[in-house]
């Protein structure tokens, strides 16, 4: 896969984040990619991994602090979460909706279903680090006030 395709497909994810954050959260997350010093994702983190399969194989990693995840999920839930486990379920759904929008753009631009998504896997931990070798990837960062998310989108070699 050429680096160009990763960049092009990354652009669809960028558009998806902007649209979904506005539609679902009523918050326009600013693109802070390349300005990582302006975002803070440390301490207890929550990561969602969604696999991409089909003509192109890859995965999306969505990363946020627990605080940002709580902000996102409480907006989605219209209030405080009833169960702590909802934090994981809702972040999985957030990542799923976001990836679904990006993959819709990609599939429609190719005029066929070239990528499908796999169900999300959700992890949490303190200073969690996830590495996937042998892929070409793009990093995207978004934020507004104290809400920060990071996306790592990788294709190939998985």
């Amino acid at each position: 896969m050429s680096e160009n395709i990763v960049e092009i497909y990354g652009e669809y994810f960028r558009r998806a984040v902007e649209e979904i954050s506005t539609e679902l959260l009523d918050i326009k997350l600013n693109d802070l990619s390349g300005k990582e010093d302006r975002i803070s994702i440390h301490g207890k983190k929550l990561d969602v991994i969604i696999g991409m399969t089909g003509d192109y194989k890859g995965r999306l990693l969505l990363e946020s602090t627990e605080e940002s995840a709580r902000t996102i999920t409480e907006i989605m839930n219209f209030g405080t979460l009833e169960r702590e486990s909802d934090l994981y379920l809702y972040m999985g759904e957030f990542a799923n909706i976001l990836s679904g929008r990006a993959i819709t753009f990609i599939n429609n631009s190719n005029q066929k279903k070239i990528i499908r998504l796999t169900p999300p896997a959700i992890f949490s931990g303190v200073d969690l680090e996830i590495t996937t070798p042998n892929i070409e990837f793009i990093n995207l960062c978004f934020g507004k006030d104290d809400l920060h998310i990071r996306l790592n989108i990788g294709f190939g070699g998985v």
Binding site: F78, L89, E93, G100, R101, Q111, K113, L117
Partner: protein, 126 residues
């Protein structure tokens, strides 16, 4: 549409809440939710809902398979398919099995309400 029974088949608890929030202030009765198609078919039998919102990607029995079962039993069922994936190929596949109404996630309350209105009037949202 006061008192209209709506069943949600979706593995995300968020969608059940969002559908309730969208429709209950308008008088509809969002009766229950199922987290997969298999349970959904049982709840359809139990509640006989007038409208079913149906997710595509679910464990055990997905939305496409569930819709096949629903239309086999009742070709006139009002099924509103919802998915984070809204690509043309998926919509085409859903249409082939009889789904006339498709809403991408996330959805606006007005869009869901208007789509149900259209479904009950016998139209489609293409």
């Amino acid at each position: 549409m006061e008192g209209l029974k709506v069943l949600v088949i979706d593995d995300s608890p968020f969608i059940f809440k969002a559908v309730k929030k969208a429709l209950e202030p308008r008088g509809m009765n969002v009766i229950d939710s199922a987290s997969n198609g298999k349970v959904g078919l049982e709840l359809i039998e139990k509640y006989q809902p007038e409208v079913i919102t149906l997710d595509v990607t679910m464990p055990i029995m997905n939305g496409i398979e569930t819709a096949r079962h629903i239309f086999k039993e009742n070709p006139d069922a009002n099924v509103i398919m919802m998915s984070a994936m809204g690509d043309d190929a998926l919509i085409e596949e859903a249409k082939e099995i009889g789904v006339k109404h498709f809403i991408p996630k996330p959805f606006k309350a007005d869009l869901l309400y208007n789509t149900i209105e259209k479904a009950l009037a016998g139209g489609n949202n293409e």
